[in-house]
Symmetry: D2
Subunit: 433 residues, 4 copies
């Protein structure tokens, strides 16, 4: 966890104080259920809620002796509750507390991420509609293709993050389970009703079959989903970095008045936020791997997953939270330059319209192969002139073309609006009506 | 693709013949829709279906010249269809064909994987019920914990693979989309109705917004899901490898009469199938990474994803298909040794019952901390005797214990069936009623 | 292994024929050594060399029965050699053959890769000297920085691949070891002299301590090194893709006469080779992971590494061989456009010289902070004019500047050659004298 | 960075205070060299050393305004040095400071790691010699193979970590370079002599060609090497976890008096340190990936590597330092149980000697295939009896065996010491004379 890439609400979820508070609630709810079942006195359950307190430093102190965090916690709570504390944790095992706590932390973290995504989606939608019909060149392979609109680019991002939102909702469900099933998951010393009660109180589902631990395929799927979302963050970040390149400069990250781009070159305005997002995406992506390696625990469990999760639990969620928020800010404040977009679109001498001419020739009766050759030989001249020669002019002078197409027909093929007639269709697909 | 780790049905999906057949169907259906819209003659559409043929070698030959696979394919089909072939591919771009084809291949591959999982689930269920009450020791950290049943182990695996099946159904939905949207996804030269028609005919959904390509977050999520499934394969494989260890030997892979375990040591019977599965799982897991790196294509697309998918498309699905089938065979034919399970369970001198004694002491009024110390001091003696001393005997001789618990009460704590009273509950949760 | 991304010499190393030939040589050399030690008759050793033959199909047939590849091989060779074949493989274990064979295959593969790198280095050097003083803009963050030369870019790539070559030499040494140490590596039934003899004959070093297998940390380091090299391939590929962007177009992959860039857009000339290399790099990089997961084999060995290596052994070396050769071709035939480089360099109105002005002001006695502010305020105007306004003109009109610097002094700061005075130094560092 | 998995010396390297101190030294040494060259006044260089101070909080404060860490640092130092501070950083760029600082931090971190490895190697050597001839069963596939000694296991680990040490020395060399080459690496505004001076003072080599940044293939190779070392940590950890399994129990992590194994089961002694190391190894391994993705920076550099390195720089080195130290402690204090080793070795009824019988039969004139069948049919009976029947007894009763081998000859084949005659050879190879 790096302070500069962290936001306080997400950090708070992973602080010791939060963790022990969740542990306490799990234990206290479990004792309630045990009392209801008559296994422990109802007074004990009440006493735990009433007198239950813990102190992070004292727990750390005890853990240094016993080398076991849950025992240290229980000992500290017992110091405050007194004799009735012995009714806590009856028939439970440490992992009942640890794994259920992790489930609570991850669901809370996911709720923040979902809220982050809602803000990002809102920003994308606003900017998409703003630029719904702002023409810009579509590029495949980094090479000018045919016209699109800047709104379409953002609509694509919106659709991608909406899918990511759905994936995240599914991933949340994956890890939102509670296990209070005892030493090896058989409920030998604890009634399954306790699990059901704690699950309900903590906002979780019951884990159908646990083996001291909640199975780690759930967490693997969860972190893999975060990794996919991070890859989408990278995609949009890379798009913006490309748009801000000196030669392209169709959009720019907002540059605040006091900001300095380079200690050496005062003229620089660098896309550092999206570059930063590119790096953060790499990190979130990498966390999926150890999460997957955690799945194959030995027999009913080993504890190799624990050190991994102590790292990636906070790091993946904190970093993705920060990244989504930063990306939202970038989108909201993005400086967009429609004039430059048009200038770039025009810079290739009309080559972007080559396909429409190809189709026109085909429809006028020339074979596809011949049409291709005719258009390509003219297009290559334009290409080599670096856009100084206009494709339309060349075509008007090519007898193989003029034999089939009139000047007016040719000119119609260079009409920009032609390309945008289905923008509405796509927007309706993406944003609904 | 390694022949020894491949099965023919899955391999067939990825052969050039299959790919070109799908390309042909996409083009022919698209031409149907174009004819229906009046863009091309209906006769052309009919001619394509009637005379459309291709030859893999001829396509390869053409591709060596034009260095573009879809153009090579179209040229070869045109050689067979004749002049009307020029109405094929009108307003389309290569990726319309390539990406929709990949969607078809991946959905078909997934259908095989789903069938594989059904067989695995059936095998797990059968063996789980067979051993529903076969006692075996539950192990955490590789150390004896408390009793479970062998059926519970398999029920856990069943639940895990049922989750994986659901994930796979979701992953299939992710990649089952069709894009026929033209050069940069704007439908500039092709009506969206064509896309809708082809999608329906090929069993796909329409991609809401494409950018020459179908967005690769879909494929990233798909391959990440295969990676998680592979991790579960590894988990079960590792479990069986552990059970077959010489010192444990509670279960064994089926060993066929002619088989040789070692060229040097004739006595060996090695868990080579599950070791092999462990390695294959590593491979399928690794394929998720380049799939995620494919997401951030430049602008409307670059083609860096293509070489990756030519490799991992076949390799991930073929390997996982093989692994699931192999794992199913291992489960179906697994040799299970209940007597050895019981022998192992007993070998620790009754230590596996230590928790129940701890709880009994607590309930008899001793503090949790004191109870723990009393049980631990006896347990450590048993441990150090390597199970030669029985825990029950020591407890019967410990005045701190006998002050609170009678002999009969103590003996009741060493009853094995006590641990299995909720097996039914768990089986109902996992397998339903 | 994908034919389209494979070259025959590297493929040949991994074919069954090659593998069995190496097996045969290992066995025959080992029998020689055994004969020399008097363990087996010298006639037997001679007979093996004289009559030793194998047939891939027959071996496969036998393996289907015995399910063990080395036993199948030995059986087939025995069918040809006759009775004296029983002296082969005395005291050896299968892994002695398999692991030593893998060492031979990997060293041969590495020799091809080293030759590939030599060709790449040669191409880079030639083009670097060709463009040693071709001015081009240096870009950080995708934004124009200060002038460099195109030769410097290639010199950087040269230095990087020279490092990679050294890494590859070290990686070759890692995996070039021979183990003939018997069932668990103790030489219980085979004299260490046999190992020494085979090692020498096969061009390997003796593995100091093996445990049936050669330890897999060696292979992990090897494949990790290939992954790093692949990352450098990606770096250079990405550089070229950037240079070929429509708006930049400072260099281009060679575009052959018959080639078609797009089935839909006849004007396209796409950097498909370097995009392809980007994808291939992702694959080679991903193979490092399962190789690392192979390290932690159980006890003296398990066989989980085997399926991984059957895949990544060929796939990583074949793909990297192809990638290096393709990259070499791209570099050799790269179309370089110095005029466009100069045009791009000039397009920012001289902003690229801002640092020199900053330094001049500082040296003229203005504080660093004030100098920065003075230059930045002028630079921002140039930036916002999209290079229409020249920085030099603005500075000449800024009284804070002219108070300290004369026109001539200012103009000197806009001299391009100033930036290249140390190109020789760098070239000498990289290429020697 | 997780406090529980961190050690103070390594943490200190990565603290802001250390980083700024290194920045200061780089800047001050650079100013010395500039003064020597006559570019800046010698008094300025002296003033910087004399009055140069910084305050972490003040730097943070400035950075919040200027959003650039190096500028913030320079500003703060200037506040203390006064007017002469303007001679600092002349002709340099931020990355000159940042990348050279990272090199210093990584070399210092590596020195700690090398010291860690020396301690680990010493511990392994001591324990290896202690158990040089302690017999234990060698296991392939988890199945008993033939006898080895416990010392051989440790000698293998020693040899593996000695290789890792060499790799780490090479990796240290990779990243120990200094770049003071200005905005795009051309030395346009700074003499290469400054770089040479700073390099020497900071204990680094000169980077032959930098491009504002030191090329990231160096760091990729570095972190990949740490990942391989982590994989070796995992291997030894997994070995110990296996040895501590209840059924095996040939060795155990030291268990301190106050320690509690389980909150629920007082009898447990779990290998939690080595399980923890298994998880930590997964983390260090995963960090190699983003480091490799960092290589392909755009053009002369982008800053996407920075956020990655802020995380993995500290996390990888701190975690590996902790892991090596923990592993050393585990090895030093490992409880080894030779009696149990012998008991396990004997538990298979002598099957571990099967190969020697096979060889004896072959040498007595029976074909390899027949010998194998004879031994296997007896071995399988022993196997099925779970070691209750002794292989020697069965062989003595098998006429096919007794026809070729006398009782004495058979018994000689079951001599344990036979297997250890080359232990000395191996120890000499590994540890020298």
């Amino acid at each position: 966890m790096i302070p500069r890439y962290s936001r306080p609400d997400m950090v708070a979820i992973w602080e010791p104080e939060s963790k022990f508070q969740i542990w306490f609630e799990i234990e206290a709810h479990a004792t309630d259920a045990l009392a209801e079942l008559g296994v422990v006195p109802k007074e004990a359950a009440k006493a735990i809620w009433a007198k239950g307190k813990f102190d992070v430093e004292r727990i750390d102190e005890i853990e240094r002796e016993v080398k076991h965090d849950v025992i240290a916690f229980l000992t500290n709570v017992a110091e405050n509750v007194g004799e009735e504390a012995r009714f806590m944790h009856q028939g439970m095992t440490s992992s009942d507390v640890l794994d259920t706590c992790l489930a609570v932390q991850l669901t809370r973290a996911t709720d923040i991420l979902l809220a982050d995504m809602d803000k990002l989606l809102a920003a994308l939608k606003t900017r998409a509609f703003e630029h719904k019909l702002t023409p810009t060149i579509g590029r495949s392979h980094g090479i000018h293709g045919e016209p699109v609109t800047f709104g379409l680019k953002l609509a694509q991002a919106y659709a991608e993050f909406e899918r990511n939102r759905e994936r995240l909702v599914a991933a949340r469900k994956e890890i939102a389970t509670c296990a209070i099933s005892g030493a090896v998951g058989t409920f030998a010393n604890i009634d399954p009703k306790v699990e059901a009660h704690v699950a309900e109180k903590m906002g979780l589902e019951v884990e159908p079959v646990s083996t001291q631990v909640i199975p780690r395929d759930r967490h693997a799927q969860y972190f893999a989903t975060l990794a996919v979302i991070a890859s989408s963050v990278e995609r949009l970040a890379v798009e913006i970095r490309h748009l801000q390149r000196t030669e392209v400069l169709e959009a720019e990250e907002y540059f605040s008045p006091g900001q300095k781009g380079s200690s050496a070159m005062p003229h620089k305005r660098n896309p550092i936020l999206t570059e930063n997002l590119t790096g953060l995406a790499r990190m979130v992506r990498s966390f999926a791997l150890p999460a997957m390696e955690n799945v194959a625990l030995w027999h009913e469990r080993d504890i190799s997953h624990s050190s991994v999760e102590r790292m990636i639990g906070p790091d993946a969620t904190i970093t993705l939270d920060f990244a989504l928020a930063r990306l939202t800010g970038v989108v909201e404040k993005l400086l967009v330059y429609p004039e430059r977009m048009m200038k770039n679109l025009d810079r290739m001498g009309g080559l972007v319209h080559s396909q429409r001419v190809l189709l026109a020739l085909t429809q006028a009766g020339i074979s596809r192969e011949d049409s291709y050759r005719i258009v390509q030989r003219n297009a290559m001249k334009v290409w080599e002139s670096d856009g100084e020669i206009a494709l339309l002019d060349l075509l008007k002078a090519d007898p193989d073309v003029t034999a089939k197409l009139s000047e007016a027909e040719l000119e119609e093929r260079f009409n920009l609006d032609y390309h945008f007639k289905h923008v509405d269709t796509i927007f309706t697909r993406v944003f609904g009506n």
